[in-house]
């Protein structure tokens, strides 16, 4: 198992190195070994990684003990014993990790394959694949980490790769801005997470998961609450929860495969994964759990409402992701880390499918026939969502109601999207087209699109495979309890915390009814009364503006956080850097220039002058001799 886990880390690294050294060249060695074929080593690595991670999952399912192994000591300070801290570089594979890893590698591999078709012909094809694989590598490392600092390292790697990919079309101002926004927003969370790690290192004396969780009894409750809260803030940024979700909708600026990867497999799942990993800490601080549940419920509801009002296909999906992540957080807060993880896995599959469909739709604008059946999405999500309902209902009625509302909402927006996109007649108003041209696509659209690959198999088969897998997993794996057994195999969670409840038909029926109600309502609004969508926009322009601004949260953040910070930075930069320090440095430099000019006046290259200096020196020497005498 160690070897399989190592392969998961080494294969992407080798592929990246090979791609960088042999393919990513301005002057290719041969037509078969140039920037146009960087994807081959990387696809190979994807296949290897997927195979080994599924083998790992199978091992865990077959009852193998968890793998927790130190590879080498990364850094150590203060020597062994109390007061010292030693951080290792290690591997950990348990049920949770294997389940997430299997999802991440399979989904990412298919998205990589899709990207081959999507990015073909782009001048940055090679660069894109290197970034893309770096993203996957970081996520694999994150899932396989066995301590918090290593996890943090890859956590930052994920952030970096997402920055590079969101700003991939760097010649566009909006892409650069979105990338910066994502990076800076994540930075807020990262700092919180880092402080949580500091607190942990200080109070537990170790960062290894197993050791930390064994020593939790020694840590005072208030410290634990701080750790859990700060960690949750970190997860908030990565997993796009309420105060820090703002970067995710803008992250659409990257190429569509990036969005798919980010929303499904690699980026936003990291926060939920961290929360599930740290469940032993979280479960000791019920106050923080309540906060998590409230944040999740609020985010899920708000994002569902906003998703319903958006017109841009990818933007709808982005808010839907935020909403689903809210659901996962809600499940965590409601006390069921298993439900959150299960939904994470399911969501990975169906959101990737949806995004790739959206990418195809954007490529075949006006040709809805080419798009793939997306029925796999809602089915897969249904069962795991159901788990969350159960958890929420068991916890409290309000949370249950929230979750139900979200289900109605997601039925609404997914249904609306599907109806409008595939069956909608063009509404009268041009600005309410379901597929506006202002989507986050970097290329010229329509006839100027140079990448007309309507029949590119690379665009079709990964989507079909993803749809197949999400339907398969949604229908076969979740209800039969296989996923449950996998996630709970050899857990760090104590005992048997989340028993596999028999399918609750009452709740299931309620959830199904909620989703159907949502879909029905969306059909009514989108198909039976197609004018409704633009009528309310016309009648209530203020409301539309409020929706566009996320109920004023985006302007609030801009006005109350970003601009003051920018102003402060300007002030500091101007006053302390330009006015004070720069002037001091300039004065120092000027005085050195003056000094050297003065000194260089002593050697003008004039022979007579040199003789003069020599004579003066000799005279001084003689005077000195006379003086001593």
């Amino acid at each position: 198992m160690t070897r399989a886990a190592l392969v998961c880390l080494v294969a992407p690294l080798a592929a990246l190195a090979a791609g960088f050294a042999f393919f990513h060249r301005r002057k290719p060695w041969s037509p078969h070994c140039g920037p146009g074929s960087t994807h081959w080593p990387i696809l190979l690595s994807c296949a290897v990684v997927t195979a080994s991670s599924w083998w790992l999952a199978a091992q865990m399912l077959a009852g193998a003990p968890a793998l927790d192994r130190t590879l080498w000591t990364w850094m150590s300070a203060g020597g062994p014993g109390p007061g010292g801290l030693s951080v290792d570089f290690g591997l950990r594979v348990d049920g949770l990790g294997a389940a997430v890893l299997a999802m991440v590698t399979l989904v990412s591999g298919l998205i990589h394959a899709y990207a081959v078709g999507y990015m073909r012909g782009d001048p940055g094809f090679s660069r894109f694949f290197l970034y893309f694989h770096l993203f996957l590598f970081s996520m694999i490392g994150l899932v396989l980490s066995n301590n918090y600092l290593q996890l943090y390292l890859f956590w930052e790697g994920v952030g970096l790769a997402s920055y590079l990919l969101i700003g991939f079309w760097r010649e566009r101002e909006s892409a650069r801005r979105a990338a910066l926004k994502a990076f800076l927003t994540n930075r807020v969370g990262d700092v919180c997470f880092l402080f949580a790690i500091f607190l942990l290192a200080r109070s537990a004396g170790t960062l290894r998961f197993t050791e930390v969780f064994a020593r939790l009894d020694r840590i005072p409750q208030s410290t634990l609450a701080w750790i859990a809260g700060l960690m949750f803030m970190g997860a908030c940024a990565k997993s796009a929860q309420f105060p820090l979700y703002i970067w995710l909708p803008d992250a659409m600026e990257g190429p569509t495969p990036t969005s798919a990867l980010m929303h499904a497999a690699t980026m936003v799942t990291a926060g939920v994964f961290l929360m599930a990993r740290s469940w032993p800490i979280l479960e000791r601080v019920p106050g923080v759990l309540d906060w998590i549940a409230a944040t999740g419920a609020f985010t899920a509801l708000g994002a569902a409402v906003l998703a319903f009002t958006k017109k841009d296909l990818k933007r709808i999906l982005a808010y839907s992701t935020v909403s689903h992540l809210g659901l996962m957080m809600l499940a965590l807060g409601a006390g069921n880390a298993y439900a959150a993880t299960a939904h994470l896995v399911m969501h990975g599959f169906f959101k990737a499918t949806l995004f790739l469909c959206a990418g195809n739709v954007l490529h075949h604008i006006g040709k809805s026939t080419a798009s793939v059946d997306e029925a796999g999405g809602p089915t897969a999500g249904f069962f795991s969502k159901d788990l969350i309902f159960e958890a929420a209902v068991h916890r409290s009625a309000i949370l249950g109601a929230c979750a139900a509302l979200v289900a109605v909402g997601s039925g609404l927006y997914i249904g609306r999207m599907a109806w409008l996109t595939f069956f909608g007649e063009r509404p009268e108003q041009p600005d309410s087209l379901p597929l506006p041209s202002s989507t986050g696509e970097g290329r010229g659209e329509g006839s100027s699109d140079p990448h007309a690959h309507h029949s590119d198999p690379w665009l079709e088969w990964p989507v079909a495979a993803l749809a197949f897998f999400s339907a398969l997993i949604g229908l076969a794996v979740v209800p039969t309890g296989v996923l449950h057994r996998l996630i709970l195999a050899a857990p760090l969670w104590r005992g048997e915390p989340f028993p596999h409840a028999p399918f609750d038909w009452g709740l299931g029926a309620a959830a199904l009814a909620a989703a159907l109600a949502g879909i029905g309502a969306s059909w009514y609004l989108a198909m039976a009364k197609p004018s409704w969508d633009w009528q309310w926009r016309k009648r209530r322009p203020g409301l539309e503006r409020a929706f566009d601004a996320d109920f004023g949260w985006q302007p609030f953040v801009m006005g109350c956080v970003v601009q003051p910070v920018a102003a402060l930075a300007n002030f500091v930069g101007w006053t302390f850097d330009l006015r004070t320090w720069d002037r001091f440095m300039e004065a120092a430099a000027d005085s050195f220039i003056g000094l050297s000019e003065g000194v260089s006046g002593l050697s003008r290259g004039l022979l007579n002058q040199y003789v003069g200096w020599m004579a003066a020196a000799a005279a001084l020497f003689l005077l000195r001799l006379a003086w001593v005498r």
Binding site: S600, S603, R604, L606, L607, A615
Partner: protein, 99 residues
Amino acid sequence: MTPDRVVWLVSVLLFLCGLAALLLRRQLLAMLLGLELMINAANLNFVFYGREWSDAAGWTSALWVLAAAAAEAVVGLTLILALNRLAEPDTDSVRELEG
């Protein structure tokens, strides 16, 4: 005025004349002449005190200095010849070592 005082004064005067030529003249030939004056001012002391103290070291030193001066004249004159091919063969125009 004792003889040693006379020799001392003459040699100092010779030395200062040579130094003045070296400092003030811009023609290399004149500067070389100044240099010879300075060398011989020193030589005068060697010869005089060699005789005064009956010490052969003074005379041999004087011979050594003459040999060195001859060598120096060879090198210097070669340099002067090379320099004279320039349009302005004075030392102010040869200042590539300006710092």
